[in-house]
């Protein structure tokens, strides 16, 4: 028996989620329709509310319900330091660690030579405008330590160094509580080249 049109449509809609193929989409659709209609309604409500109200913060480019997100609007944050991250998840990780009191800028991606994601796709224009008109003294490049993250950091550093700003890159090396014996070679290499005098 072929699925009714509406069920088919639901499956197709669900398969737009990352990592969800036709089979998982079918499982989700059947589950929602048969076992958890209440849950399905909650998804509908939450999704439509979020779509309606969530937008990009005009300062840091992350998701926000107001024009400016809570962090950017907070008077307690140090506006002279700007930390650049790839995604809102990275920003949240730093916030959870509560180690940084400055402001953020979220690129929403990285330069990706094989997917054709370029400077325009990661909001570089907005970043430069932000840096241009604010009291930022230091920019901390906290893109991921992947090849693409490094390429992105290099590109941004070059643009930012032309202005009167200190540009730094987050350190990388042995994790806290880590034992050298169990640390991979690449990390050890970084730890040694990035060593500090004490």
């Amino acid at each position: 028996m072929a699925d009714p049109q509406l069920v088919d449509g639901l499956k197709r809609a669900l398969s737009c989620l990352p990592g969800v193929g036709p089979r998982s989409a079918q499982r989700m659709a059947f589950h929602l329709l048969e076992r958890d209609r209440e849950g399905a309604q909650q998804i509908v409500d939450a999704l439509s509310r979020a779509l309606e109200r969530v937008r990009r913060c005009i300062r840091c480019n992350s998701f926000s319900e107001q024009e400016m997100c809570n962090i950017c609007a907070s008077p307690k944050r140090d506006a002279s330091q700007l930390c650049i991250v790839e995604s809102p998840a990275d920003m949240e990780a730093l916030e959870k660690a509560a180690v940084f009191g400055g402001m953020y800028f979220v690129l929403m991606g990285h330069l990706s030579p094989l997917d054709g994601l370029g400077p325009d796709d990661i909001g570089v224009d907005r970043l430069l405008k932000l840096v241009g008109k604010n009291e930022i003294k230091e920019v901390i490049l906290a893109t991921n330590l992947t090849v693409e993250g490094e390429a992105t950091a290099h590109f941004l550093a070059e643009l930012l160094q032309q202005r009167d700003i200190v540009v730094s890159r987050i350190a990388h090396g042995v994790p806290v509580g880590g034992e050298l014996e169990y640390t991979d070679g690449g990390t050890l290499g970084h730890a040694l080249t990035g060593r500090q005098e004490i």
Binding site: S112, P113, H154, L159, G186
Partner: protein, 242 residues
Amino acid sequence: MRVEQQSAFVLQARDYRETSLLLEVFTREHGRLGLIAKGAKRAKSPFRGLLAPFQPLRIGWSGKGELGVVTGVEAVSSTLPLAGDRIFFAFYLNELVLRLLHRHDAHQKLFDDYCLSLEGLLVDSGWESILRIFEKRLLAELGYALLLDKTGVRDGELDADTLYRYIPDQGPVPVNGQESQGILLHGSTLKALAAESLQDDESLREAKQLMRSILGIYLNGKPLHSRRLYQQIIAFRNSVAV
């Protein structure tokens, strides 16, 4: 089928499901292939951090058909420390291999050329010449070698100072005024490309135009993302230069 300990580089890694990676790998003995690395992004995965471009690897996999499953990964040395713009040039090599090699066709010589080119990008300042020589060897390996040691008309001898038009499938033809097809270049550029020794700006520029036009044919006219990205970056730098 189970294969172990193959010299390889990851050309491209994409996220797959929660913690896995979908890889395009270039191996010495088995050519380009697609592999899944299950759980490679988990904190305790033994593959973590290794399955990235420009990391010399020994890799093992099992399975037949289009997608194999990674069974073992070992770093041969640390990741090649490509810095700055060199990363973009190295990605360009990856994209050429991705786009032009068929899966499961072994190209041992090209794999060695790829390794040499990456190493060249680490130390040598002549990155343009490294890219051109790799392109030339890639075309030859695919069976589309350029005609660089004689003209395409009755096997005539090449003259360094003469201007030629390079016609695909025919080769260099002396310019006779009427013909407008093909890429215009000097005999000296053809000779330099044949000898893999591109030195002066003129031969580098002409060789670039030649390669761009010939590769364009085999890429079916579809642009290379890495080249476009680099052009965008250059344009961006120029536009914000103070």
